[in-house]
Symmetry: D2
């Protein structure tokens, strides 16, 4: 099945100038998107951290939700909503670190899709966040 | 054990003017905070939703992380980082809805704390989001 | 909506003599079942623990799956399968401890149900396990 | 760091004749174990399913707990207990199916270890279960 999102140009157009909550990850650099996968890079700055200078778990979750959702949009033409999302934070990420983030569709069926995300430190290559995300696929087509 | 956060005035001071990621929930209204609990109210506006007009799962997670963290700050003087966070989204929340959000400490021991969050629709009283959040307690004292 | 399971007698009949995997919790004592809730009691014996004498996380999960499933069977006449299940283990449970286990339906809609489980130590009353369980509701009717 | 479990012979000795709860997976065939990984195969029989003939989520969880735990025992000499365990069930597994199950240590630090499990159908190769498991590492040495 083919989704509404085809390539990096399409994703750039989709996120451009948006005022919705997804704006908080606007500094990410899109590396690739297509075939049920999406990869981005993000340098952690002041606007991404908590008061201790660690990547905010809320932003970690936002990245996880968005990147896995973009991956699903390349496979499924319909809209979708989260039912369950789980993240494990293997290691604190600090201001100044750069993250490589891969999201992919593990399985998508008629009404449910199972997605995953892995975040690694760009320098060390170490996994720092792992996540599993289950979405419910609605009847409506995604308009982008 | 007593934490660094005592009351609504203390929490208002802690979050005031911050530029860190927690700024994204600055419109919340703090209802109460103390004794391992924190309750807030938030009206869902344009800045909180995704392109379909639903509360963004990234913001849901941010609320969950922050409100449960504030609850922990009333009990534990040390800093803490997330190890695992799980959310279940029982029902989509729409732009214009108002959420009542309760976070509480289910258990805190020397190195781990187990926190929970429940979000309800203010009008219907129905649960719309449930979450479980496990944090690791560091040696450093929280400076607020 | 009414489910296939009405009361303790019905649940006893459902689980009696079964050879399927659910047999591993056959020593539980059913305290109540109905209206989207199920409560049982279980004394932890040799057959329930791991090599260190702690309640085996596999059995914890089995209890969570079964008790929440029984709760759902009181509300929904259809069969159902797990999509996501999350447990947090707040405190190790030891051989000889007695658990009080409550499962309930937080929300059930047409195709998805959101269930929860809390396990407490019978003596201290302390919460020792918390769980969230999401099930997909199939078209087939449950035959019991 | 080296753990207490070295190879298939060691794991066979560890699980042999045990009366603890782990006995419920005694029919598994150990394919390999070492270097933070463990792989097993299991044919799903009557004793593994629920009343509908599907692999019981309780046994799915038990497999996940055990296989990831064996993987950790190859890296860490200490005992460990679960703090959080999450499973996503991508597709029902039926009586008669054969599962290939891989568990691995994603990261182990001084007090926490992050483990993962993937279960695939042996014939189709499709992923059917994914899991994330966080364990707390205790001070005591594992005696096997």
């Amino acid at each position: 099945m083919s989704g509404v999102l085809k390539d990096v140009a399409g994703l750039l157009k989709f996120i451009k100038g948006r005022k919705s909550f997804g704006r908080v990850i606007h500094k990410m650099q899109i590396l690739s998107v297509g075939n049920g996968k999406c990869s981005v890079e993000l340098k952690i700055e002041d606007e991404h951290v908590n008061t201790m200078g660690f990547l905010h778990t809320g932003l970690t979750s936002t990245l996880m939700d968005c990147i896995s959702g973009f991956a699903l949009m390349t496979k499924v033409p319909n809209t979708h909503v989260s039912t369950d999302m789980h993240i494990s934070c293997l290691k604190p990420v600090l201001r100044g670190d750069t993250l490589l983030i891969d999201g992919w569709v593990q399985k998508s069926a008629k009404t449910l899709a199972f997605l995953e995300v892995e975040m690694r430190d760009k320098v060390s290559g170490e996994a720092v966040v792992r996540g599993i995300h289950t979405k419910y696929i609605l009847d409506d087509l995604f308009l982008i």
